[in-house]
Amino acid sequence: MNILTLVRQVPDAEARVKVSGSAVDLEGATLVIDGMDEYGVEEALRLREGGANIETITALAIGPKRNEDALRTALAMGVDRAIHVETDEKLDAVALSRVVAQIAQAENITLILVGGQEADWDSQALGAATAERLGWPQLTWTNELKIEGESLSGRHDVDDGNESFSAPLPAVVTTQQGLNEPRYPTLPNIMKAKRKELRKDTLDTYGAANTVRVVNAEIQTRARMNRVIDGKDPQAAAEQLLDLLRNEAKVLA
C-alpha cells in the first residue's frame, strides 16, 4: 500500500505577521513545516515501522517555492519521495482537492494524511474535499490510528467528545497534536534526504481554478493596560484586583 502525506511551509506560530496593502506579507518571517502536517508525516512512518505493509510514502506540497523546504523536512524525517506542484497561484481547498485527488489516483494511493487545520489560514477543508472527490471516507481530528488489513481503526475527536472508529481503506485521515511526537531529522538522514527524489510538477494539467478571492486583510490589536500587582500579600492583591474589576473595568458586580 502507498501513503500520501500532505505538507506545507508556513510562518512559525511565534512569527510576527504583517499586512502589506490588502494581503499578509510573509517577507522575513521564520517559516516551518506546518505542525499539523508533521503529525501526518510521523504517523505514516510509524505505521510502516509498526509492521503495516507500506510500499511507498510520498510527501506532496502544492504551492510556492518555499514549500520545497517542508518537503525536504519530510524527506529527512524518512518519507521515500516527494512531489512539489509548484505554483504561485493561490488555490482554495476545493480547487486544491482536485490536484490532490488526481495525484492520489496516479500514484495508486490507499491512505492520505493531511493536517487537521492549517496553521496560517486556519482551514480544515482540504482533507474532506479530497475524500469527496475520490469517493472515500474520511476521519478528522484523529488521535490514534491503526491499519489492519484492508481497514483502518483508531480514535478521533468529535463535537462532544471522542469516538473509536473503524473504516474501510482507501481513506483520508486528518491529523492533530496528540497523535504522536514527531521525530527530529538526524544529520545523516538530512544528508540522505538530499539524494531522494523530489519531483517537480506544474498546475497545468490539473484543471484547478481558484474560486475564493481574498479582498482584504487587516491586523486588529487591542491596547492592554498591563497593570501588574505584586502578589506577596495575597489578600491585599486580591482586594485590589477585585476593586479594579468592579469599579474601573466594571465587569463584576
Binding site: 482554495d92 474532506a128 475524500a131 463535537d159 473503524s166 474501510p168 474560486t211 486588529q220 501588574v228
Partner: protein, 316 residues
Amino acid sequence: MKLIVAEHTGGKLTKATLEMVAAAQNAGGEGPVTLLVLGQGVAGVANEAAQYAEQVLVGDSAALAAYNPEVWAAAAAQIAQEGEASLVMIGGSRSGREYAPRVAVKLDAPYLEDATSLSVNGTTVQAQRYTYLARVTETVEASAPTVIVTVKPGSFAPAAPAAAAGEQYDVELELPAARTQVTGRSVEKTSRVALTEADVIVTGGRGVGSPDNFATYVEGLADRIGAGVGATRAVVDAGWRPYAEQVGQTGKTVQPKAYIALGVSGAVQHLSGMGKSKFIVAINKDAEAPIFKVADYGIVGDVNQIVPALIEAAKK
C-alpha cells in the same frame, strides 16, 4: 432559498443555529430562510425550527439516527440542488467543518470557511474570517449560483422567534450507507454556561496544579462570580477537563467582557482563542509569562494563595 442545516442536541436547536438564522436574515440576497432538520424523531426540533425560519424541511429517518459526514453531505447537497439554494449555511463546529467541504465538492460550489460576518450581493457572497492564529481578519469573496459557508459560533446575535410559524415539509432523501463504524464513544459533558455565551470566563492552566485544585480554584472562583469555566489544551490533554472547555486555536474562540486566566502561560495558540476579550486578567507566579503581555490586570503570585483570597474577597 438560503438553506441552513440545523444543528440540534438533546431535542433542541443549538444557539449556533439561531445565530446562523440571524446571519441569513441580515445578509441580504433573495429567497426564504430555510432550515433543514436532519435526524431521527426530530418532530420537536422541526416545530422549534418553524418558530425561526420561513420554511422548515424535515428529513426524519433511521438512516439519519447518527451523524456521519458522508450522509450529512449527501442530504445537504441534495436539498441545496433541489431547492436551488443560493447560500448553504453549515455550523462552524467540528462536524460542520468536516462535511461542508464535501457539499462544496458535490455541488462544484465555492466554500467560505468559518465566517464571522456575511453579506450577499447578487451571486457574490462576502465573509470575514480570522487567520494567522486570529491575529489577522481577512475578507474573502466568492461569486457563484450556490456558495457554501460555515459560520463561526458566537459571531452573530441569535435570532428571535418570528411572529408567524414557518411552513414544514417532509423531504425524501437519497442517502449513502455510512462506511465508518463507530465502535465506541466517550462523551464529555459540562453543565455550565456555554463558553461562547459567558460574560465572564475563568480559565485554568497547568499552573493550577491538579484536577482537584482546578475544582477548588477555577470552578470555585467561577461559581462565586457567576462565570463560565475554560481550560487550556495542556489541561484538556492531561484529562483534567473536557474538550468542551478548551479555549484556543483548536478549541473555542471566546470574547467575554472579562477573561480571567489562572496558571496559564499564554501560548500563542491559547491567545488565538481569547485575545479579543474585552478585559484580560492573569494570575501567574512567573512575572515573565507571556500572558501578562496581553493582560489588562495581573497578579504575580501563586494561585494556591491568591485564588482563595480572591474567592474570600468576592464574598464581600
